[in-house]
Amino acid sequence: MTVSILLFFPLLAALVLLFIKGNAAKNAALFFSLVELAIGIVMLTQFVPADTSRQFAVDYPWIPKLGIYFTAAIDGINIIPVLLTIILVPLIILTTFKHQYQNASAFYALILFMQAGLLLVFTAFDGFLFYVGWEIALIPIYFICGMWGGENRIKVTLKFFIYTFAGSLFMLLAIIYLYLQTPDKTFDISRFYALDLPFDKQKWVFGAFLLAFAIKMPIFPLHTWQPDTYTEAPSAGTMLLSGIMLKMGIYGAIRWMIPVAPYAFFEYQNNPLWLAIIGIVYASIIAFRQKDGKRLTAYASIAHVGLIAAGLLAWNVQGLQGAMIQMLNHGIEVVGLFFVWDIISRQLNTRDVTQLGGIAKVAPQLAIAFLIIVLATVALPLTNGFIGEFLLLNGVYRYNVWMAAVAGLTIILGAVYMLRMYKNVMQGETNALTATFADITLVDKIVLGVICALIIIIGVYPQPILHLSEAAVSKLVTAVNDKIVLSIKHVSQPLGK
């Protein structure tokens, strides 16, 4: 079994979907995404965490003349983002079951098409292939937001597209540059790793990758496309963006940026780290007074992703393992939060927290699910959020105590904006608008039930997930650190003499 099944099945499914009209498209899309999940789970059972080499590898000469190979595989570094993608897509499809979209078959085809692109990004071991996946994932979300989004969708989506596309152009330049440096002209990542570029070259490669990935995550101050896009996109689009797509930036930094330019990373590490940490506090404070629930959640997401970025940039086993598990956790939580907002706005046609209130009284089941998701977001122990944030903060702490102290403010500030939101929406007396709010029904219960179950299971027993990436992460950290040490010696020796 190779990873190509995982990559091509959603692509084929997307093509098939184009020919399925009406309501059946929904069901078909769900079915296909569940098949994909099943394929992934079968692979997961065969996956060997202790083996740090490429598993389920496919290595097909695509354009060998240009050194382009269809090289994809699964290892401990991408297993978690892959899992995240195959778990979230069926859930996201289920969240749309109460909506009636125009051109439903196109809508669902685009979701599955995007899934293929995302999986390609996560599993590609060839630079060119990685870039192709990166853009393939962008096209469907552009259409999803641009065609099914809110009132300002055209303007907002355009900005989102240009912004992230500009970033990815820099990344393309870096990839092409690396390709040209390889002795036998290849895009293979292991050759990129082996390049050992001089510092003044590394720093440009590092900068170009950082720009692309920082825009994608996004890291402060490159985040301003994000709240608008999340707010205007249709709910499923927001979930795809926040739940999965932003992990492309996190994953890219781990796989493509730091190991390729280790010494430049080491020299400049402080800057993006501080930006990420400033972003945590900055976005949290902005979230205090946001009225639109989706926009509030968008800023909360910037804060939480800032912590993931900080943990990975601290570059130690704790921080990186934290980033790994938190990619999954954040995906689960943010889809849950946006889904709750979808449920509310579907019924009440508003997401203005100041107009809501008392919903817990009329919809106790929604209130419980929402509370569990909120608690995971504020990283309460025995929810998945705690495992991630504890490791991330510990990782940052090992790098710099003060950074950890500032980043740690997230556990206070997060509680402020999340509980404020919960109170405004759920608690208090019902008003004319919310008095007739109906509690969740079967499909919604399934989605929220799965999300809450994942939150608690991972929170109580995270070890199986941590174990998946453990060996690969510690190997990668050691390899990069060894290179950094070598570079330092290399630089300091001539000075010594």
Partner: protein
């Protein structure tokens, strides 16, 4: 016994799950029985564990599974039952059980009956984790978990927005402390390469007194304690927490959760003993909290608010005890306070129940005859908290004060003044509630009744414990043997060795006891004259009060102060960040750059606004070209 330890926390968790799922389906008596039974079974197991520790003298260690393991960091899900935690288990499950039984009567008419018991069971689960954990991270799970339950139960009647606000405030203020705790944990990991108590204490014991890292660790842990145990400056959530149902105030906000900070410090005593600076900070903060809490309690008119500030103040005594090295005394006060303060709250609940939900003492009075059991048990609680021998509070408070005297006579004097205030505000509460004439409406007077047996029996049991509880620690000066001191010896032996034996002649100790006893009696007589003889009922809110009374009545305006210096500036900053920095500043630059690109690109006719289709077109063309090219090379092969 070791095999069944995991059941101690799991039984209440099972109760939470059953009642949580069946909260609307199960009949009330079934819900109440399941919830109480689970806690009772835990209590039985805790007794077994206690007896085993007693007979073997050795702690029980149980490892359940590997919770978090990353790199060199290993955090097992493991429990430790030793002399300290075994007593805490008895208190949590024992008093917890009584309060569950009481709640069956108290909450009987509430629509959220099932939810209430589910939450209460969940609280017991987390509180048990807190004391059972054999490392700081498991303690932290319990620590934050009880904070969650506190949030849920303060906001139990969440349709009242001010109750929901009180819940939120409690959670957020606790979180401030929790950040301190969390960073302390990181520092512990860095310093000792472990979070397990056994490793940490063994390694810490080899460090010098005054070690800077230990100073930081202990200060940060103490920050955590100020949040959970409501000390200055993080105490203002506790009085607001009275928004929750009264049994919650008794269990969580008096007997158990709020003493978690004292438990944590007593548990880590060796770290603190080696950090004299922190010890002084703790003693001073504790003392300041005693005085501030007591001063506010002097003028409150809400019966639960008086008790809440009293709790703040009594917790201050426990911290004073810790700060002067009286670990046993502080823990002793945790135990006796759990008895008498749970009792006082439950009595207050019984009173509130009788007067149809009224909490304002200005509208009570003369309840002695109508509520005889409540009256007598509450009087016992009051005598205990006021430090009247032989009731429980006398022994524990005097032990703390005696150690304080050795440490510094100035602190001692302030401590005694605090204890006089205690006696005054508690007897003020008693006189206003039970003496004089009933001041409520005729309607309320008509309904006055003693509470049902499910409520009065727990009162009687707690009254007995408040009466005899002090005998577990009778000092040698009074001819006792101080059982508790011997019992806790294995836990605090390291600190005792460093601090040295407690040195005070028996006569001095007796003199100190006489002083605080006399002070308490004088205060209660003064209260009698003022509130019974002169019937000086506090004035209505609309009337002007003397400046100092006003200051106390309005809680020194501390909430208003925090609002002005923290909440409002942050909210202002939120708007400023959003509108000015984010929208105008950063996004302005981004849009400007975009505009410039568009303008400069116009010549090339490539980058016009709305021309994103062009990008897509190019990209699709590009991808197709690649595909065609690959197909071409494929065919050629």
């Amino acid at each position: 016994m070791d095999k069944y330890i995991w059941l101690i926390p799991l039984l209440p968790l099972a109760g939470f799950v059953i009642n949580g799922l069946g909260r609307n389906a199960l009949p009330k008596n079934v819900i109440g029985t399941i919830a109480s039974l689970m806690v009772l079974l835990s209590f039985a197991l805790s007794v077994g564990a206690f007896l085993q520790v007693k007979s073997t003298g050795a702690p029980i260690n149980v490892t359940l599974f590997d919770w978090i393991s990353v790199g060199t960091l290993h955090i097992p899900f493991s429990f430790l039952i030793d002399q300290l935690s075994s007593i805490m288990l008895l208190i949590i499950t024992g008093i917890g059980f009584l309060i569950h039984v009481y709640s069956i009567g108290y909450m009987h008419h509430d629509a959220g009956f099932g939810k209430f018991f589910a939450y209460l069971n969940l609280f017991i689960f987390f509180m048990l984790l807190l004391v059972l954990g054999s490392n700081y991270v498991i303690m932290f799970i319990g620590w934050e978990g009880v904070g969650l339950c506190s949030y849920l139960l303060i906001g139990f009647w969440f349709t009242n927005p001010s109750y929901a606000d009180a819940a939120k405030k409690a959670f957020v203020m606790n979180r401030i402390g929790d950040l301190g705790f969390l960073i302390a944990v990181f520092l512990i990991i860095q310093t000792f390469d472990s979070v397990a108590y056994a490793d940490v204490f063994a390694k810490a014991g080899k460090l010098n007194s005054g070690n800077t890292t230990l100073l930081l660790i202990t200060l940060l842990l103490f920050v955590g304690a100020t949040g959970k145990s409501a000390q200055i400056p993080l105490f203002t959530w506790l009085p607001d927490a009275m928004a929750g149902p009264t049994p919650v105030s008794a269990l969580i906000h008096a007997a158990t959760m709020v003493t978690a900070g004292i438990y944590m410090i007593a548990r880590s005593n060796i770290l603190f003993t080696l950090s004299p600076v922190t010890m002084n900070v703790i003693a001073i903060i504790g003392l300041a909290t005693i005085i501030v809490g007591a001063l506010i309690a002097l003028t409150q008119t809400d019966i639960k608010k008086v008790l809440a500030y009293s709790t703040v103040s009594q917790l201050g005594y426990m911290f004073l005890g810790l700060g002067v090295g009286a670990y046993t005394g502080a823990f002793f006060h945790v135990l006796t306070h759990a008895f008498f303060k749970a009792l006082l709250f439950l009595c207050a609940g019984s009173v509130i129940h009788a007067v149809s939900g009224e909490q304002d003492m200005r509208k009570m009075g003369g309840l002695r005859g109508k509520l005889p059991v409540t009256f007598i048990t509450m009087l016992i609680g009051t005598l205990a908290i006021s430090g009247i021998p032989p009731f429980a509070g006398f022994f524990s408070k005097d032990e703390i004060l005696a150690y304080t005297y050795v440490h510094s006579p100035v602190l001692y004097v302030l401590g005694v003044i605090g204890s006089m205030f205690t006696s005054f505000y508690m007897f003020r509460l008693m006189y206003l509630t039970f003496w004089g004439k009933f001041r409520g409406t005729h309607e309320q007077e008509h309904h006055l009744h003693e509470s049902p047996a499910s409520m009065t029996i727990p009162l009687i049991i707690l009254a007995v414990l408040s009466t005899i509880g002090g005998f577990m620690g009778v000092p040698k000066a009074l001819g006792g043997s101080h059982w508790l001191e011997h019992w806790l010896d294995p836990v605090i032996a390291g600190s005792t060795k460093l601090i040295g034996e407690f040195s005070l002649t028996h006569n001095t100790e007796l003199a100190l006891m006489a002083i605080s006893f006399t002070g308490a009696v004088l205060a209660l007589i003064y209260a009698y004259v003022k509130y019974v003889k002169q019937a000086d009922i506090p004035v209505a809110d609309t009337e002007e009060r003397p400046a100092l009374v006003k200051l106390s009545y309005h809680k020194f305006y501390i909430d208003e102060l925090y609002d002005t210096i923290i909440r409002k500036p942050l909210d202002y900053l939120s708007g400023f960040f959003y509108k000015v920095i984010d929208k105008m500043g950063i996004d302005g630059i981004v849009n400007g750059l975009g505009q410039t690109a568009v303008e400069s690109g116009k010549g090339l006719r490539l980058l016009q606004t709305g021309n994103v289709g062009f990008y897509l077109f190019m990209m699709v063309i590009g991808i197709i070209a690649v595909l065609v090219f690959s197909l071409y090379s494929f065919i050629k092969i």
